[in-house]
Amino acid sequence: MSNKDWPLWEIFIRSKQGLNHKHVGSLHATDAKMAIANARDVYTRRAEGISIWVVKSEDITASSPDDKDILYDPANDKVYRHPTFYDIPPEIGHM
């Protein structure tokens, strides 16, 4: 078995009460159908979830940790971007 024939897949599971798929880990499979079956066997045995997404690891592009400062620090002191300065009338309820 070579890595070319059994690429790595990232697995995302949505729990029964959940609204989004969470990344739970990775596994090897030859194709998407097998990746789903393997994910079912490896990542749902303890009733972790009811929906599986599989994505080939090579199809995921991640930001570089070296760029962390310039990408994310500037947002830390821009408090006006958060919608917390408005008084919501009580009749509106929770927003």
Binding site: M1, W6, L27, H28, A29, T30, K33, M34, A37, N38, R40, D41, V42, R45
Partner: protein
């Protein structure tokens, strides 16, 4: 044979299939061809051992001799096990294990579908629950028959060899003896003979798609349901029963 004895035999037949197959599949633990399949097969094994537990508990109730499910599961002698011969066949290479699982699951899912409406309350609810597990086993093994059959020259050769070797053990799944007939007459279980046509349709379709040749229907081994087993069962039981016999009454 009394009604109670017949029902006990019937429950042991179904339960022993799951007990012995679960034991066989457990042998793959740590030896799977890839990690994901190691987990898949041991999951299968746990499914079967879970089913076996329920069946042995029911057998204990039907037998009504004060033996618990562990004593019934682990302390019988070989002729008292009533599984079909197919499930005691060795794991062999992965193709053999997959072929055995495929041919068994295709039959067992039909049996469970039928028993889901059994007049026996316990068997009916057992079947409804277990059918979900077995449908997955069938999907998983069918997929692997396709992958190996329609794979490389070596995988095709091994898969064809496995189908050819295991085929003479499939006939037993479609036999009816007096106990089966009694259970069928009481709407407790199926007419096994009538399951063959549906089973054959599904098996044929998968084999064809996989580019594999279906072996001709010839003589089939039998006797497992009546307690006449192959040599293999003795070795399985010596592994399975060692702990219980060496340390009687031991607890975790």
């Amino acid at each position: 044979m009394s009604q109670n004895n017949a029902l006990l035999e019937y429950v042991l037949r179904l339960g022993d299939n799951t007990l012995i197959l679960g034991q066989r599949l457990s042998e793959w633990c740590g030896h799977g061809p890839v990690l994901e399949e190691d987990i898949a097969l041991t999951n299968h094994a746990l499914d079967y051992l879970g089913q076996a537990t329920l069946m042995m508990q029911y057998a204990s109730k039907v037998q009504d001799e004060g033996k618990d499910e562990d004593q019934i599961a682990f302390l019988r002698d070989a002729p008292e096990y009533k599984n079909i011969l197919l499930v005691e066949l060795p794991n062999g290479d992965y193709a053999h294990t997959v072929a055995r699982q495929f041919l068994f699951s295709a039959w067992y899912s039909l049996v469970l579908e039928n028993i889901s409406s059994s007049s026996d309350e316990f068997l009916a609810s057992f079947a409804v629950k277990s059918l979900k597990e077995v449908k997955y086993h069938l999907q998983h093994s069918s997929d692997w028959v396709l992958r190996l059959g329609d794979g490389t020259e070596e995988s095709h050769r091994r898969m064809q060899d496995a189908i050819d070797k295991i085929w003479p053990y499939t006939g037993e799944m479609f036999t009816m003896d007096s106990i089966d007939q009694l259970m069928f007459d009481q709407k407790i279980g199926p007419n096994f003979i009538s399951l063959k046509a549906v089973w054959l349709d599904h098996v044929k379709a998968i084999l064809e798609e996989a580019g594999l040749t279906m072996p001709p229907d010839a003589w089939s081994h039998s006797g497992g349901k009546q307690g006449r087993h192959t040599e293999h069962l003795g070795f399985i039981l010596s592994d399975m029963q060692f702990l219980q016999r060496a340390y009687p009454g031991a607890k975790w």
